[in-house]
Symmetry: C2
Subunit: 311 residues, 2 copies
């Protein structure tokens, strides 16, 4: 048996979810948990107080078993990851079975979901949420440069991502979007626990293909910016010849699809996210795919949700 872990402030300069969690503490009836036992967690209180994404390293790239097992690694965020797993991990002191990690972004992603890998229960929850709220799904997988995400360490988990919103700013609209997706996810988990999860026939998935950096000079400094015709167009198809970047001389650099993406519908996501500059990511490329929803996904989620505690 276990609870649903709801994390806000995994990144300390994304302060909308922490505000949502704070209002929930002040008004116990503020969040409709659909009868489930929910454990709200401020992911990185020290980074939140400092107004920074992290102190030593990105907490949402720190849930890497090899890193966590290395006693020589003493970074603040690895300490947090170990503590949260000890306390709230599936074998923790207060075990949680599902992790919902609430993020915000400076990119115009709208209200959306991110899943890591192709775990059946995650896909079932995402498909049900997509049917209810129309949320697009970004499936992140197979990128060795980007790993160690928080929700991967729980048996089921999704990121709820809302944007655009500047870092360090609470906007009531963003808080409400976050609450809407969170409450619907909890309602669906409760339905799964009762054995009756409604599912669409198909799931639209944006599968991670890789990331593009800005063009750079030899010294590493940027030689171009995101093209104004690409800014705020997350999820919208990118076609051969479409503008990508604007260089320092005012020239437009256009998209040339790599051979392996020929014939696929390619959609950029996380366009011009402030925090990804240091990761060398101007945006990520996804391939839009339509998958039939498989019965074994639903079965996996119903089985897991059967172990969720009452509020």
């Amino acid at each position: 048996m276990g609870k649903v872990l709801v994390v806000g402030g995994t990144h300390g300069n994304e302060c909308n979810a922490p505000w949502l969690l704070k209002t929930l503490r002040h008004v116990p009836a503020g969040l409709d948990t659909a009868g489930l036992a929910v454990l709200p967690l401020l992911g990185n209180p020290e980074a939140l107080a400092a107004g920074r994404r992290y102190l030593d390293r990105d907490l949402n790239r720190s849930f890497e078993p090899a890193l966590l097992a290395d006693p020589a690694r003493g970074e603040h965020e690895l300490g947090l990851a170990r503590r949260w797993l000890d306390r709230y991990g599936p074998q923790g002191q207060e075990p949680c079975l599902v992790a919902l990690d609430l993020h915000s972004t400076t990119a115009a992603m709208g209200n959306c979901l991110v899943a890591y890998g192709r775990r059946p229960a995650d896909l079932a929850l995402a498909a049900a949420l997509q049917q209810r709220l129309g949320l697009p799904l970004y499936l992140h997988e197979g990128d060795p440069a980007q790993s160690g995400y928080l929700v991967e360490r729980w048996p089921c988990g999704l990121v709820i991502e809302v944007g655009p919103v500047p870092q360090g700013v609470i906007q009531a609209r963003v808080v409400e979007q976050t609450r809407l997706a969170l409450e619907e996810a909890l309602a669906l988990l409760a339905e799964a626990r009762r054995g009756g999860l409604p599912q669409p026939r198909e799931l639209v998935v944006h599968v991670h293909h890789g990331s593009l950096d800005l063009p750079r000079h030899g010294d590493g400094s940027a030689a171009a910016v995101v093209h104004p015709q690409r800014q705020n167009r997350d999820w919208q198809p990118l076609r051969a010849g479409d503008p990508l970047f604007l260089d320092q001389e005012g020239r437009t650099l256009v998209y040339e699809p790599p051979a392996e993406l020929a014939g696929q519908t390619v959609c950029p996501v996380f366009v011009n996210e402030a925090a990804y500059g240091e990761k060398g990511i101007a945006f990520s490329l996804t391939s839009r795919q339509v998958w039939p929803v498989r019965p074994e996904w639903t079965e996996a989620l119903i089985q897991l949700a059967g172990g969720l505690d009452d509020a």
Copy 2:
């Protein structure tokens, strides 16, 4: 005789103006300086590299004569302020007569101007820019908690402010808005130098009246957020009973005008600017006023512009 000082990156997490200055260095013909000698300056390169507004203290509150004269004050930004005044101040090694300081904001301020105090030459330049581009003007004055602005130390100077844009993000549209206002300001200074500055009959001024903080708990933590109906409504009139804040219990707190503002048109500015949280400012209140443009303003600017160097 002197140049026009054009400053970008006074705040290190406002990176649109630094990008504009960078493109200008790469393409000498990229900025139309209207024949004037322009001195581009990266205000706080160390803060820009760190992706922070400042290292020790806000550079744009550091141009305070008493602070600058105190040898015991060794903060990074006071060192910068002293250096820029020694080099480019009106009596500096490479004297500048006008300072244009390029900023961006997370608030929906659009493309606008900020002047400090009621210096005739500033008001003449602002009025001419307002006539050409329709830019609103925020007149900041008489606030002992907010002083020491950069442009105050040059005989004439304005801030060009563009938003909304997240901190740490370059958006090509914001760069172009900044360039547009900057080029028009230089063109008007060149016209003033030729003695023929065109002026409107009236100047619309938003006069600073004070700032409102979020409601807070006894421990200093926020007890409410900016109301969603006030977000992104910079410059728009605020009337008695209009929603201001949304508290933790979901209650709306409304505006009650102070007696001294009764009968005036009150417009909030810098609504929910990320950097002002630490200053205890949720937004500032201005009084919208229409002033006749006075001939002595124009004369002051024409006299000053007569001393501007050729490119």
